[in-house]
Subunit: 277 residues, 2 copies
């Protein structure tokens, strides 16, 4: 099978076993020209230094994960969250990516009001979106699977993400379409069309859904083709809106991390061609 | 605090450590007059015998769990599923409950088409609903949390459940409103109103949402008040539709099962009064 890697972006957490330098070398050697990065390993390596490494390797950075966690009620925590998000926006700008992914945050301890938490996200976006726009960075609200609603992200559907994003210009706030989080939702096709029509698909990510879920459920994502998601159908829906950007593969899975990085990357590339394109 | 137990129904899986006889004795001793039963322990005890025990204990059976698993593509498996559901309907009739809860089924191995799977459920309901109606039993489609979409139930939202139920008379097919499965959904309030307006709330169940989820996620439900769900708000929404029936507490949690049944039942009753009523 021939592989077409022009649209493939490798999120660095997919090959977490690799250092940033190994990622750059590995992608270049495989003909992959896009990567998605995470703040912690980039900070550890040095943001300017990471930007230089990507530039010199000919790699474009399709997104930086992650800002967000904007649901705190405590004023000090809210201020700290806004400061940290400004820092994340600065880092995105330094890395040369136009997209900062937001994981919006769960319910603060003892809170049960999802609607109020979602409103606090909107309040924070009103502060952060202009700051980001001045630096050439778009904020991308990622709806997370409803199983993360209490502890990571009260934005559980693409519809909810768009309800928030549409309060702002599309050039400032959009959404992430991630198959893993929305595949179960019969409203997803209509919401993908809605997002595309207003130019708000700022990132498109893919991972497959497999069971049983591990304890804590965070690391339960499946290799492309191993699970229940019709990823080609989602890619076709996203493409049908006019989206032509890179498609980021973002899989968190300890079994995959236990394998040699180069072997895993080759498998991801083959599966991407077979199941997504 | 005084406890008002008139509307409390104890699903037998909540006190799984108890035998059916212990359940009957324990509920009677606590002033609880409703229970929800499960097929396997009832079959083990004997269906007629269980019906007699409930009758003689003055306990009403608010629902039987569960029929369903109606998504198979293999003709032999489909026939077997329909036969088993007819048996479940017969058992419900024998137990004197008017409600059979349906867990509709996940994706068959290798299948990725959720829409087609949901249509197969509708096809099966067309066969089963009249059979149930002749025996005084209503079918109640339970939307399960989207984290169960692949392996247990492709019906993930109350909206989807109603889309299926509304193809049939409300006297034959309705839905289960279970806080655990739908709490994250901003469409839930509108869908509860829709379900109530057409007389389709055939069962109302409560459990709380806690994290971290255990491996396999099935046994991760929380004691009332321990988690993120505003259960009183849901009870008020359901009541606002005119629903006056029993409210079933259905919690699957190994930590709770490790405790003495009577102690757990007393805690459930107190929490029910504090967090639901």
């Amino acid at each position: 099978m021939t592989t077409d890697l022009a649209r493939l972006s490798i999120n660095q957490e997919t090959v977490k076993q690799w250092s940033l330098e190994e990622l750059a070398t590995g992608c270049t050697a495989s003909g992959i020209s896009h990567v998605g990065l995470w703040r912690a390993p980039v900070q550890e390596y040095g943001v300017e230094r990471a930007a230089k490494l990507m530039r010199e390797s000919g790699l474009s950075v399709t997104s930086l994960c992650r800002g967000g966690f904007l649901t705190a009620t405590d004023p000090k925590l809210r201020t700290a969250a806004l400061d940290d998000n400004r820092k994340a926006i600065d880092e995105a700008a330094t890395l040369g990516t136009d997209t900062l992914v937001l994981v919006s945050g769960g319910l603060p301890s003892g809170e049960r009001d999802l609607t109020a938490a979602r409103e606090r996200i909107a309040d924070a976006l009103a502060v952060l979106a202009p700051y980001a726009a001045e630096r050439g960075v778009r904020l991308a609200i990622e709806p997370l699977h409803p199983m993360f609603a209490s502890d990571r992200c009260v934005v559980s559907t693409l519809g909810q993400a768009l309800d928030l994003a549409e309060r702002f210009p599309a050039s400032q706030v959009g959404v992430v379409v991630d198959t893993y989080h929305i595949w179960w939702d019969d409203q997803a096709p209509a919401q993908i069309a809605r997002a595309g029509a207003s130019g708000r698909i700022h990132s498109f990510q893919v991972a497959d859904w497999i069971t049983p879920l591990p304890a804590g459920v965070l690391l339960g994502r499946g290799q492309l083709g191993d699970g229940s998601i019709d990823m080609r159908s989602f890619r076709e829906q996203v493409d049908a809106t006019g989206f032509t950007g890179p498609i980021e593969v973002e899989i968190f899975n300890e079994d995959l991390w236990a394998r040699p990085g180069a072997e895993l990357l080759a498998e991801v590339a083959a599966r991407f061609t077979e199941h997504v394109l």
